[in-house]
């Protein structure tokens, strides 16, 4: 079973990398990009076959390591 985790910065946390990407897009002529937020995608290949158990387990992984919940949000997708 595969899982995909999206880690994004919380609202209100400044994202200097996203701001640099937005600036660069503007320089390339892409107008109308109001804001860019950069995050991470983490794909996991799991031995677990039960969807609910997999999701619970990946959430724990997020809390303990994959995301820093001081500044980041995460979402878990079981594929």
């Amino acid at each position: 079973m595969k899982a995909r985790v999206h880690v994004t910065l919380k609202n209100g946390v400044l994202d200097p990398q996203g701001a640099a990407v937005a600036h660069s897009l503007g320089a390339l002529g892409f107008d109308g990009v109001n804001d860019v937020r950069q995050g991470k995608v983490i794909e996991l290949d799991l031995a677990e076959t039960d969807k609910a158990a997999a999701e619970a387990s990946v959430k724990q992984m997020c809390e303990k390591l994959l995301a820093n919940t001081v500044i980041e949000n995460y979402s878990v997708e079981i594929l």
Partner: protein, 225 residues
Amino acid sequence: MRAAVIQFPGSNCDRDMAVALANVAGGAKNVSMVWHKDADLPKGLDVIGIPGGFSFGDYLRCGAIAARSPIMNAVVDFANKGGYVFGLCNGFQILTESGLLPGALMRNAGLKYICKDVELRVETTASPFTSRYTVGEVVTVPVAHHDGNYSADAETLERLVGDDRVAFRYTKNPNGSVDDIAGILSANKRVLGMMPHPERRADAQLGGTDGVRFFEGIADALVSA
């Protein structure tokens, strides 16, 4: 005084830190180097230093993997029992990732790696690490980091400022840190994290001695304790 320096794969300020500690601890025999895979700390320890560097290649987030190393459980226990712990640069990142200090260190606002001397204003003397300085004194210490942009929510910030837990501020903010914060303390003032490197200004032959009192203050606290 007995000190330990924790070594992770990618630590690169560990030996500088050990030398600075040995100078105030009565020699190198009183400073242990402890490998991250060890589960236990040496017995009779007074203070633990978490060194700078790029532990685990800064993978995932700076300090994230190191903070989950086996030895860090023992370090967290030690701190929770009132032990003295300090983290410099990557060490500060590891201490925030381990939950011993609040907030997080993010990518520098200018996105560039910064390696230069900066001026720090001492904000409190109510900690062993800052007791030999005076409040408002400006010292020169180098920074060398890509992710030193200290971030904390408004509530945490209010608590840090209100409880006299800001140890140092930059006089000219190099990295976008909230409220110019360069270093902070735990609630009991026995755990400190800072991005600048006092261990690199702890010998006149290495360019300055403004960092010496940081280490002398630790020794004072342990002698009087």
